[in-house]
């Protein structure tokens, strides 16, 4: 369960002064649901998700991951979530196994549990062929699998994906999409951001449309279609965002 309550984040920019990256955003994602955060580049998706993952601290407002407040107990909240984005790279000089093991240990798993979990994940993701290969020698697909294993090692109830398919080829992107679906089927709370409409249509149970740091619309695909009288997701998005769209200066 993720509950975002009036999240706000402002940055100081030398040229533009104070920038409201996220402006009073509230939403709820439930277990067994995929929440899609849809927005153009610079809309505030990444900042929102980074705040949920406690990588950034909110200027105002807060959020709770499974009841843990991200501002008061960021370290505890992090134990409940797995965070994956195209920016979360692997340590090049560690092997795939060591990489996953490191994150397992940081999540407080003891050696016996850790070994069992890693073996299980490596079997399921078919990673045993490259478990002792260094991460800088892995192919993109292998790297993605290792990243997935890294987020799964402590079996978190909340999964946060920040544009996870950005820049990946179709086959690798499919692995990720499959994985996201699997997370939902296992009853996890999933939130992910994207600007690819097809992914939204295929995956999301609830959609939030964000622009200029504001959450402009929220609902299931059906609800959005009915409300705006359009059937194509892209048309709906454009209709909602256009009045607020300012090209980034």
């Amino acid at each position: 369960m993720i509950e975002a309550v009036n999240l706000r984040k402002t940055f100081q920019d030398k040229k533009r002064g104070e920038v409201k990256a996220v402006d009073d955003v509230s939403f709820v994602c439930r277990p067994g649901e995929i929440y899609g955060l849809l927005g153009a580049n610079g809309a505030g998706k990444t900042t929102t998700l980074r705040m949920l993952a406690t990588i950034l601290e909110p200027t105002e407002g807060t959020a709770r991951l499974c009841g843990q407040d991200i501002v008061e107990h960021p370290e505890r909240a992090r134990q409940y979530c797995g965070f994956l984005s195209t920016a979360t790279a692997l340590y090049p000089r560690l092997t795939a196994y060591e990489m996953v093991e490191y994150f397992g240990r940081l999540n407080g798993l003891d050696s016996a549990t850790l070994k069992k979990r890693i073996d299980e994940i490596f079997d399921r993701l078919d990673m045993n062929g490259f478990r002792d290969r260094r991460c800088d020698k892995l192919s993109t697909g292998m790297k993605q699998k290792t990243s997935i294993a890294r987020t799964l090692v402590h079996d978190p109830p909340v999964m946060i994906f920040d544009e996870p398919t950005l820049g990946l080829d179709i086959m690798t992107a499919r692995t990720i999409i499959e994985f996201i679906r699997e997370c939902r089927d296992r009853g996890k709370t999933v939130i992910f951001s994207t600007h690819v409409m097809r992914e939204v249509e295929k995956l999301c149970d609830v959609i939030g449309i964000i622009q200029n740091g504001k959450l402009l619309a929220e609902g299931t695909i059906e609800q959005l279609r009915q409300k705006h009288g359009l059937s194509d997701m892209e048309d709906i998005f454009v209709k909602i965002v256009t009045p607020h769209y300012k090209e980034a200066v």
């Binding site: 100081q12 990588i55 134990q79 965070f83 979360t88 560690l94």
Partner: protein, 404 residues
């Protein structure tokens, strides 16, 4: 404070560091090889130059002197001089280093001697050039001997005692213990090298663990793990300190081995002047141990400082360009400590780096001023703690971690 988490971070960083070729070279290879290579090169060149200069029969031209056969003969008798008749361009020959010196003897030189006119003999040398200076010194001593013999002759001719010329004699004796004579020189160099190695050993890991992590995109990955940022920064910092200390220890090891080898090789006997005691380079275990203890707060200071600076950078290259000017800040006090006459005073004892360099210089020579040792150890600890606090604080700042 969870030691477990700091330990996990440290172990992982250690694994990675031991697989990083750049870190391996700067931490292990450089300190081990620098001293023998530099030392052997320096000692080899020095003993070769000094040895050949001492053996050389210097070519010296005599300008004039046709009417003064006595002084010319005295010069020709000296075994270390190869006396030639001057050609017209003797000045160019000295400047061109074809001959080492030219001795100008004025006309009627010997004739004037008996008449109290005190003529002047000029020795033309190439100033600052070792072989020329040595030839001139030989000429000088021949001329002084000749002057004495002339004076003695005149005294005898006037029925006076030759002892009037030397009412007393002067003798200089070096009674400093041999290890201190060498220590004053060696201590400065060791302190300089040590400071440089401490910094050099910390540099690559400090960059790799901060800017390098940003550059490779792993910063966001690690920040999403439950480890607290304080634990993360401490684990990383400990690895940087380890690298710095290992580098310093290997340097000291290499210094003591090379100095012992050098001592036994006999190169020092060649360098020492005849009659002077041979300098003792081999370091005493107590000196090594005390220098090592001073190295600990120094390593912490460097590691925390470099860590903080490198943290601001977004890439390895950017970090290096920030750190390059820092090298000068460190090298200047380290070099000042090598200068003769710069000694520890209460004021200098709180100047960071300079105090440690000066103290190391003293420790190597076997002097232990406990009050200075306490002040310097304590003040360096304070600077180190300040730098570490800054590093931890900076690691909590989003504007530093996510600088764009």
């Amino acid at each position: 404070m969870s030691l477990r988490n700091i330990g996990i971070v440290y172990r992982k960083e250690l694994t990675e560091a031991l697989r990083d070729r750049r870190t391996l070279i700067t931490t292990f290879l450089v300190p081990l090889l620098m001293i023998p290579v530099l030392g052997a090169g320096f000692a080899g060149v020095m003993s070769a130059v000094i040895g050949s200069a001492k053996k050389e029969k210097a070519r010296v031209a005599i300008v004039g002197g046709e009417d003064s056969p006595g002084v010319v003969a005295a010069l020709k008798r000296n075994a270390k001089l190869n006396v030639l008749a001057a050609t017209a361009d003797w000045r160019n020959q000295v400047v061109g280093k074809e001959i080492r010196a030219a001795v100008e003897i004025p006309p009627h030189f010997e004739l004037d001697l008996g008449q109290g006119k005190a003529p002047t003999v000029t020795i033309n040398v190439y100033g600052g050039e070792l072989k020329s200076e040595m030839a001139a010194a030989n000429v000088d001593s021949v001329l002084k001997e000749y002057r004495d013999s002339v004076a003695t002759g005149q005294l005898v001719a006037n029925h006076l005692s030759a002892e009037l010329l030397k009412p007393f004699s002067v003798k200089r004796l070096n009674i400093a213990p041999p290890e201190k004579t060498a220590g004053a020189f060696l201590g400065g160099i060791i302190a300089y090298m040590l400071i440089l190695m401490c910094l050099q050993g910390a540099m690559n890991p400090a960059i790799d663990l901060t800017a390098g992590e940003k550059e490779r995109g792993t910063m966001e990955t690690i920040l999403s793990s439950p480890v607290s940022r304080t634990h993360l920064v401490l684990g990383k910092f400990l690895l940087v300190v380890t690298a710095s200390l290992v580098t310093a220890i290997l340097l000291l090891f290499s210094v003591s081995v090379s100095s012992t080898v050098l001592q036994k090789s006999g190169a020092l006997e060649q360098m020492a002047d005849e009659g002077e005691p041979i300098p003792q380079l081999a370091l005493k275990p107590a000196a090594i141990a005390s220098v090592l203890i001073m190295t600990v707060p120094l390593s912490v200071l460097f590691s925390a400082g470099l860590f903080t600076i490198a943290l601001f950078a977004k890439s390895h290259k950017e970090a290096q360009s920030y750190i390059a000017p820092l090298m000068f800040l460190v090298v200047i006090p380290a070099i000042s400590a090598m200068l003769p006459g710069v000694d520890l005073t209460p004021k200098l004892a709180i100047v960071p780096l300079l105090n440690v360099s000066l103290l190391c210089k003293e420790l190597v020579t076997g002097e232990y001023h406990w009050n200075y040792i306490a002040i310097i150890f304590a003040s360096t600890c304070v600077y180190a703690a300040g730098a570490l606090y800054l590093a931890v604080k900076m690691f909590q700042r989003e504007s530093v971690l996510f600088r764009s």
